[in-house]
């Protein structure tokens, strides 16, 4: 059922190149350059069969500059999410399946071990140089496999301990081979971390690789870089570094190219249209519609909010969307000329309570690993009040589970133990022998003090408000909780040191749970907070960390099977089984559903979908194709 062959489809529906040339249109500025003889004709700049994009609402017009804001010096992913999520595949706008992007289509073998991608003949980098299979091979053979460039190759290209290999069938056909089945490879390529194969233009980037250029050592020394790999990254970037957006010379496949780069001390990053961009709309207009993007660099979120309500921003989907900002955003919308842009949640919970299953305190660990104790804590929480007070009544009580409507929705996982029932909670706690005199805090059976602390990041105001309510509710059943607010890096260091009782964090996986199942599987190195030592055990193959519970070990085994199952239905069944086991184990406690938050878009900006998922694997707004946004008054 998942075996697809978009190749045949695209070839049969595509028009001949000459037919395109008759109806093609480009931005006036580019047309002027062509007329002056400074740029080849549009038909020569486009691939023989450009991808034809159907606009969200209607065919737009060329022109205008989009204004956006970056938060400080390390917000490179904001650029990635608007401009640079150009992998071989991309997510469909509804986040349901990967569709062809840079590749015209792909075909996979029945055992899901090899994937053949067909590129678009005639497609070019932003400097006009042809984009071919050699560029992909350059990345796989000379970079991914190079120990000097990656000490350990990125896990997204490694299956069963072996790195992907690639062979070139012809200039426009590449086959990837894996040691074991890797069914989700096209999904991986659609996310931001799967862009490596098409990130590097060989004709430009090879000058920084010793194999191709013996003069690299001198370039390294002249630029004061520590080694060629850093020089390479400074010039050609990597997926998540600011330097990716610093070098205007780097050829790209993105709709816009860097004009003024993202370097230390910069106040504005500007990008302008890529004259060789390979998509057209249904009327034959070359995309992007918008001439360029100006990213204003502001240092903090309050200044960003001020810039937004001052009408200086046309599109802002990061940092400002929070429940607390909605009133002020709504208040200034008319005057500043923007409308609120709903961003639908992809998280499994707004505030997930991770109870450390490998707490260093043995007595406390005994309680935290006891399911009865966790059930009691869950019943002691009044989630309706939390929803009313912290989330303005916009959400609803929820455990940590995929949202309704997702194909992996599990009712038990989502709704068990949600009822506010302090009487039952007290009974359960009594049954554990946790003694209480009057209305004071409980003690262990041996009479020693029972005290829990929760770590929460200081910038997560909704989480802090939530846990303050929970603290009071738990106190009513005799559980004494201390709240430890801390700076972000401290929070992560304590996580890595296994030095916490309870952590509060968002839980991913409300939509497409398999893209990040951290709350049900101890697989995320930093954020599977039910136990980081379990993750270490899993990722080291049992050599490090602490052996997980029987249920978790079984789930991890199923997860390994899932990765290597070629058949989609069988793979889905495994995920369902994992989620059911997670429901029975009940390791994490949820509060309420993550809720729709609001960014802003200018009233003049069209073709933006009415709402879009908000996530990292679906790096919004990229899959909604910002290159087909346009200004009404352009």
């Amino acid at each position: 059922m998942r075996r697809r062959n978009f190749l045949a489809l695209s070839l049969s529906t595509a028009l001949a190149p000459q037919a395109w040339a008759a109806t093609l249109a480009e931005a006036p500025a580019l047309a002027a350059l062509v007329k002056a003889g400074k740029l080849p004709k549009l038909a020569e700049r486009l691939p023989q069969q450009p991808e034809v994009v159907t606009p969200v609402a209607n065919v737009g017009k060329h022109g205008g500059i989009l204004r956006n804001a970056l938060a400080g010096d390390a917000d490179h992913n904001a650029i990635l999410r608007i401009v640079g999520n150009m992998g071989l595949t991309r997510w469909s706008p509804d986040f349901q399946k990967p569709v062809p992007n840079v590749a015209a289509g792909w075909d996979e073998s029945a055992d899901a071990r090899s994937f053949t991608f067909k590129l678009r003949p005639g497609m070019k980098w932003s400097d006009g140089h042809p984009f071919t299979a050699d560029d992909i091979l350059f990345c796989i053979n000379d970079l991914l496999a190079n120990k000097e460039f990656f000490a350990v190759p990125p896990s997204q290209y490694v299956v069963a301990g072996k790195l992907v290999t690639a062979t070139k069938q012809d200039d426009h056909t590449v086959t990837f081979h894996f040691a074991e089945p890797y069914r989700i490879f096209p999904e991986v390529l659609a996310g931001p971390l799967g862009q490596h194969p098409v990130l590097y233009a060989k004709h430009y980037c090879q000058q920084f690789v010793p194999k191709y250029n013996p003069g690299v050592a001198k370039m390294v020394a002249d630029s004061h870089q520590p080694n060629w790999a850093s020089l390479f990254r400074a010039k050609c970037g990597d997926i998540e570094v600011p330097a990716r957006w610093a070098n205007p010379e780097r050829p790209v496949l993105d709709p816009w190219v860097v004009e003024r780069g993202y370097t230390g001390g910069t106040t504005e990053v500007t990008m302008r249209r890529n004259p060789y961009f390979w998509q057209v709309d249904t009327a034959g207009n070359q995309l992007p519609y918008i001439d360029g993007i100006d990213f204003k660099v502001v240092s903090n979120e309050q200044s960003m909010l001020l810039a937004v309500i001052g009408g200086q921003i046309d599109l802002q989907l990061r940092y400002i969307p929070s429940i607390g900002n909605k009133p002020i955003l709504a208040q200034h919308a008319d005057k500043a000329g923007y409308v609120l842009q709903p961003l639908t949640p992809t998280d499994a919970n707004a505030v997930c309570i991770y109870l450390n299953q490998t707490d260093k305190d043995e007595k406390l660990k005994g309680l935290l690993t006891n399911k009865t104790f966790r059930i009691a804590l869950s019943h002691a929480m009044d989630r309706d009040s939390i929803n009313e007070i912290v989330f303005l009544g916009q959400s609803k009580p929820w455990q940590v589970a995929p949202l309704p409507g997702d194909s992996f929705y599990n009712e038990q996982l989502a709704t068990q133990y949600l009822k506010f029932d302090p009487k039952k909670a007290n009974e359960l706690l009594d049954s554990l022998g946790l003694k209480r005199s009057g209305t004071g805090p409980r003690t262990y059976p041996d009479g020693s003090k029972l005290f829990l602390t929760v770590d929460v990041m200081v910038n997560e105001t909704a989480m802090i408000d939530t846990i303050q309510m929970v603290k009071k509710q738990w106190a009513d059943v005799g559980i004494d909780l201390g709240i430890n607010t801390m700076e972000r890096s401290q929070f992560y260091n304590r996580g890595q040191d296994n030095a916490y009782d309870i952590d509060l964090e968002a839980a991913t996986g409300g939509v497409h749970p398999t893209t990040d199942p951290r709350a049900w599987l101890a697989v995320h190195q930093l954020d599977s907070r039910q136990s980081i030592p379990w993750v270490q055990w899993y990722t080291s193959g049992g050599k490090l960390g602490i052996a997980p519970s029987a249920s978790m070990q079984e789930r991890l085994k199923l997860w390994d099977q899932w990765k290597q199952t070629a058949d989609q239905a069988a793979a889905d069944a495994l995920v369902k089984k994992i989620l059911q086991m997670a429901a029975d184990a009940f390791e994490t406690i949820g509060t309420v559903q993550a809720l729709t938050v609001f960014g802003i878009r200018s009233k003049r900006l069209m073709n933006v979908p009415a709402s879009m998922p908000n996530g990292w694997t679906y790096p919004n707004p990229a899959p909604t194709l910002p290159q087909q946004y346009y200004f009404t008054d352009a």
Partner: protein
């Protein structure tokens, strides 16, 4: 005098060496390193980075080496004029720092001049007209200026600017001149914008200096030598200027040493709020992300400024007050 200066300059070398070890140690003191902080900052935005990237990062930058090795690599480079490499920016540190230092110094000097221009006359007036109506008014304003945090003042001003005047008060340039080459127009534009941070930065400093000036002058005004001079018929203005004010100036001058670095590091929050491209925000970001060489270079520079500032103030003091000796 020249021997004194030479001796002090020589003494600075071992002192700076000690400072550099302390700075580097402090930067490395928090648990974790640049790689973990990088991962944490991405994770906090719901974004992930592969473990492989982190590993290769540590190896490339030598973060897995012992402390002393890392320190030696750095300080050896500094001695040869190479301030090291910013992990965050994948750029040599020196290019990052000098870009921001110019505006920082300009803003600092403007704020310092503003502080003095306000504090000096008001302080003198308040002391001479002790308990007059205006003394109370200035005292009240001074207390207010001390009590209101600069960043709050900045936010309030910016909100008023945007909500009521549709004017963006943040930044040092308007959009048009942001990246333009230097020209008369750009200088004019800078002058149009610089008064907001100048006033905000200078306010609390001015408020405290008014108090200092007033108290110092009050101490002097009733000294016998003042009475004597007055008895001899010196005009009130000449008298004030020639004797008590000169002595009351001592604290202005002797605090110069820490005014210099304070203007760079003390303005961090205000620079962040007002979105100024000065050194402060870059330093803060470097410290938060443990971008160790960038942060180290900034801290070294700040310490050097302190040391130089102290030297300058010592020299000025000696010139100003003949009672102060070089020994």
């Amino acid at each position: 005098m020249s021997r004194f200066i030479l001796r002090r300059l020589l003494g600075m070398v071992p002192f700076m060496a000690l400072v550099s070890i302390t700075c580097f140690g402090l930067i490395k003191l928090p648990p974790g390193d640049f790689a973990t902080n990088y991962a944490a900052s991405l994770a906090a935005g719901g974004e992930t980075v592969s473990q492989a990237t982190l590993l290769s990062m540590r190896e490339q930058y030598g973060l897995d080496r012992p402390f002393l090795v890392q320190y030696w690599r750095w300080i050896d480079g500094v001695a040869h004029g190479n301030f090291g490499y910013s992990f965050q920016w994948q750029q040599p540190v020196s290019t990052l720092i000098w870009g921001r230092m110019g505006l920082t110094l300009l803003l600092s000097l403007a704020a310092l001049l503003f502080t003095w221009a306000i504090a000096f006359p008001i302080g003198v007036y308040s002391a001479v007209h002790k308990y007059s109506v205006f003394d109370y008014v200035f005292t009240f304003l001074g207390m207010l200026g001390l009590a209101v945090p600069g960043f709050l003042l900045g936010l309030v001003l910016m909100y008023i600017g945007i909500a009521y005047f549709g004017e963006d008060l943040g930044g040092l340039f308007s959009h048009h001149y942001l990246n333009a080459p230097w020209s008369l127009g750009r200088v004019a534009d800078l002058l149009r914008h610089i008064w907001v941070p100048m006033v905000i930065l200078g306010t609390s400093g001015a408020a405290s200096l008014i108090r200092v000036m007033r108290a110092n002058l009050l101490d002097q005004l009733h000294q016998p030598y003042v009475e004597t001079a007055r008895a001899k018929g010196l005009s009130e203005f000449t008298l004030l200027l020639r004797y008590p004010i000169r002595i009351a100036l001592n604290p202005f001058v002797s605090t110069l040493g820490w005014v210099l670095p304070n203007l760079v590091s003390g303005s961090v929050i205000i620079s962040i709020v007002l979105n100024l491209q000065t050194a402060g925000p870059l330093l803060l970001q470097a410290l938060l992300s443990q971008d160790q060489y960038l942060a180290g270079a900034f801290l070294l520079l700040l310490c050097l400024l302190t040391v130089i500032g102290t030297l300058v103030s010592d020299i000025l003091l000696a010139l100003l007050d003949p009672r102060i000796r070089m020994q």
